[in-house]
Amino acid sequence: MTDEQAMWRVAMHDDASAFARLAVRWQPPIQRLCLRMTGDEQLAEDLAQETFARLFTHRKNWVPTARFSTYLWRIALNLCRDELRRARRKFEVPINGESGEPAGPQFSVADPAPDEQLAVAERAALVRDALQRLPEGHRSVVVLKHYEDLKFREIADVLEIPEGTVKSRMAAALEQLNRLLKPALDLDGPQPAALPRTPEGICL
């Protein structure tokens, strides 16, 4: 059964097993997306749950001609966007592990020595923080393309922008990441934590 067929059964017949099938299939990528977008593990879990809750309560809005994945990515991204706006209003953007969740356990390593594991985790934290400093529109593109491996055409559908804009945002985001990370990776340069924080991201 395809995702679209399963969603059709959920929408038309409130089919619980079809909903479970979709949840099993899509919960991990949706939670990853929310984590990349917010940088906060607990918040990402909440947003993923909310995504599926919203999917179910709005099941009648599902249009069978649309791709299920596009519909679901869009719900999740909208929730992330709303959450980031709320956090921005409260000046509570979770950066640098401020959510209370230690950064270390989020990162996977095969079986390295403790000091190596720490270095890997610190490097990952730098990337995570740099990603959070991107404008939300650029970050969405990076997450969907680089991490979730969507085609540029699919990202354009999800974000409802032209494909060319998606690609130019991707290029700009990569350049901006280089600029953000370079001082941190330069042993003589300042650490990124010393950079001024701009919760809404830095515009190019």
Partner: protein, 182 residues
């Protein structure tokens, strides 16, 4: 020299170009130092992005046997009575989804109930209205029928009186003589 634009290079870096176009960009990169520098910069950022690895969420790492529990939980979410108490590995996620769904379904139900109450009141009003109209119609029909019956009665009485008078006249009329026979 005409340089490919950044959009072309993004498709190139993420391997979304047709082979022929890809070969063209390969050739260009081989001959253009500026573009090579730019490509190296972009690739560096891509490598850095790869450093933020997120382990597959523990929920996804569970064997597919948990599908049945997901299904049971989903059934519970839409009110078919399965409990979440037996869930072990997916409990937190499912509990969160359950809470949200329950709240939203309660809200939907309350809204539906309110809508139903309003609809019932409207039905009631409409029913009262229809019954009132029917009663008025019945009264009008009754009045008309009564008028008709009274008219018939009066006409019948007149006819009876007329007949009676004719009978009396007939009775008082002397019998006529028999016709003469020649």
């Amino acid at each position: 020299m005409n340089h490919p634009n950044s959009e072309d290079w993004m498709s190139y870096l993420y391997d979304e170009l047709p082979p022929e176009r890809r070969r063209e960009l390969d050739a260009h990169a081989a001959s253009c130092a500026d573009c090579r520098t730019q490509l190296t910069s972009w690739r560096g950022a891509m490598t850095e992005l790869d450093r933020w690895a997120i382990p597959t969420p523990r929920r996804a790492a569970q064997p597919f046997g948990n599908y049945a529990r997901w299904a049971a939980a989903a059934v519970a979410l839409i009110g078919l009575g399965f409990g979440l108490a037996q869930l072990t590995t997916l409990r937190s996620t499912l509990a969160g989804v359950e809470t949200r769904l329950r709240d939203q379904l309660h809200a939907e139900f309350a809204q539906l109930s309110q809508g139903q109450a309003t609809q019932n009141a409207q039905y009631h009003d409409a029913l009262v209205n229809v019954l009132g109209n029917l009663e008025a119609q019945r009264r009008a029909d009754y009045a008309r029928l009564r008028r008709d019956v009274e008219t018939v009665a009066v006409l019948a009485e007149d006819g009876l009186s007329s007949t009676q008078e004719q009978l009396v006249q007939l009775a008082n009329t002397p019998p006529s003589l028999s016709p003469k026979r020649n």
